[in-house]
Symmetry: C2
DNA sequence: TTGAAAGCGATACCAC
DNA sequence: GTGGTATCGCTTTCAA
């Protein structure tokens, strides 16, 4: 507890404006502006008077008003799927950091993977005239953004490309990562490898499936659709499928999981199975190393993704008008045990 | 912090304003405003003319300008420790949702537990005239907020109370949760129970330590400072201490970990130990149920915390001027195995 | 029903 | 050095 007498202060009188400060200090409003913004050409006497008035009133500049006049907002918007998931929150954090370095604040919002909600959120941010936008796009057309982009809104898409428009993207090498995972399993003797991925509406699911198929083709393994699941990451659908597949004829001896949600659910399932298949997951997750066995993953770097996207966005905001860029980040296979067992 | 004004972006057609639309539609600017805002008293003919002009120009209202005039911003600010950690990201998500229900957008920023950075971020948000503020306070005085609160800024603190000011708080029952954890271990026969908690600058660390001590006192167990660690959650300090304590004379047979970070680090450590102590952790974490054994935790509900804080904030924004409120949320012990083993 | 004029709270420009 | 005035894009007020 602090036991000091608080200084006298005008209470609850609403906000002081520059005009008020000017009146109290006996100077023009522009002189106040000069002092507040540290501009030159103010005499020491007036400076002092202004500072005194500021201290007395507790004045603080209304940045919104200043920014309205200046034509930008020093803010950027971020719309992603779900702020609570680890991938998104890492993205958020790294973008916050870059934004902060540029004196910019960040609006964040979650689309819940709903194209309509995404559109509403994005347009709401555009209406506020954020200087730029970073979007993890939900599926669905993004042509609604064309008028905004035309009007000068800078926009970078992360993790997935937008549908129907050409725009800057920062993606991970999904195909390469998936290939690496499958090749790793093949190298450990597997030829019956299952793929468990998101609904095919989702870009990353399609790409990772493509990588899976390329790796199979390259190693001379026939593609078997019975070993492929594409569906929702939540709910009973995948576990039921997995149970059935493992209990059926000619089951998989190894699983390649298309995202960490699936990895976790699959582990939950196979830890009860008599014959535990090998497993490699796309996307790292906390505690993957603490499980028994440790979970082998293809890691992507969500912080790196966010940083790259934000840096690209600020380059655009600073006038970089070079053609649309597509940045791809590398993935890394981290062996921890679950992927290094034979059939 | 770089505070440069970005150069003029080469924008397509630039932004259309209401004035432009009015000119094209051949009506007064106020009529455009009426149409855009769905206000009554506009003839069908003019309405149509305005709509046509809007469609032609791709006009979209500048909300920032509208809000400046209206005196609020329909935005709230959130400052927390680290947007990337699971607790914070759950908080963010639930606050986003409540804000969205109120037609409000959310600024989010991370203080990195640095009081100076927190102050900068909070004041920056105040300068933008967010309508309200939700803060997970870092340690350090919060008297810097007095002028803002005086000026009418609504402010709710989450997870920890602010220092030096009286304000609305939404906290979890740290003492009760800690007592429940320790009593649970005592019930399973333990009398040598260690406490592993954050630095005592952090409110929750103090409270949980208090609960630990109360439970010991109540069950007639002497407090032994050699069984208590308070220090940083990252780095080698805690693991080293734990190793030493377990290898020393009269070691603990059970651990009570003050947050999930410590739980994870402690598990990492004791899984290598010859004699694995029982463990209960404060704060649930993903995969706690998948580890072997499952990790018994005292769970708090970060989504509930965020929701309660946001709802309280919006009550304030809607004119609720009742005295300062202190909301406490209950915790729940979830037995999963690690806490149900004897000495 | 309509729109001209006066703000909102700051900055930009330009005389003095 | 200094400060008046126009302005940012919209809403509010009020007279027509």
């Amino acid at each position: 507890m602090v036991n000091a007498t608080p200084p006298e202060r005008p209470r609850g009188r609403g906000r002081t404006t520059m005009r008020d400060v000017a009146a109290i200090a006996g100077v023009g409003i522009k002189t106040v502006s000069r002092v507040i913004n540290g501009e030159p050409n103010v005499s020491a006497a007036k400076q002092e008077a202004v500072l005194a008035a500021v201290a007395q009133t507790g004045f603080r500049r209304n940045d919104s008003a200043a920014l309205l006049r200046q034509g930008h907002t020093s803010s950027i918007g971020l719309v992603l799927e779900d702020a609570a998931d680890p991938f998104s929150s890492a993205l958020t954090r790294s973008i916050q950091d870059v934004a902060h370095q540029h004196g910019t604040v960040l609006f964040s919002a979650s689309s819940a993977e709903d194209p309509v909600k995404e559109r509403d959120l994005v347009l709401a941010l555009c209406a506020r005239r954020v200087d730029g936008l970073i979007v993890v796009p939900a599926s669905g057309s993004h042509t609604y953004l064309l008028p905004e982009i035309d009007a000068g809104m800078a926009c970078v898409f992360v993790d997935r490309p937008p549908d129907g428009i050409e725009a800057d993207t920062v993606l991970v090498d999904n195909v390469g990562g998936a290939r690496a995972a499958v090749e790793h399993l093949v190298r450990h003797g597997h030829r019956r490898i299952a793929f468990i991925g998101d609904r095919l509406e989702i870009f990353t699911a399609r790409e990772r499936l493509r990588g899976y198929r390329e790796a199979l083709a390259e190693t001379g393994i026939a593609f078997d659709p019975r070993l492929v699941f594409n569906g929702p990451a939540y709910g009973e659908e995948m576990p039921a499928w997995l149970r059935g597949m493992l209990a059926g004829p000619d089951p998989a001896t190894a699983l390649f999981c298309g995202n960490s949600r699936f990895s976790v659910e699959a582990i939950r399932e196979i830890s009860r199975a008599p014959q535990r298949p090998a497993l490699v997951g796309f996307d790292d997750f906390e505690l993957a190393d603490l499980l028994t066995p440790g979970v082998t993953v293809v890691s992507q770097d969500p912080f790196g993704l966010g940083r790259a996207a934000a840096q690209l966005l600020f380059r655009r905001l600073n006038g970089d008008a070079t053609p649309v860029q597509h940045i791809h980040l590398r993935t890394k296979l981290i062996p921890r045990g679950s992927g290094e067992v034979g059939p």
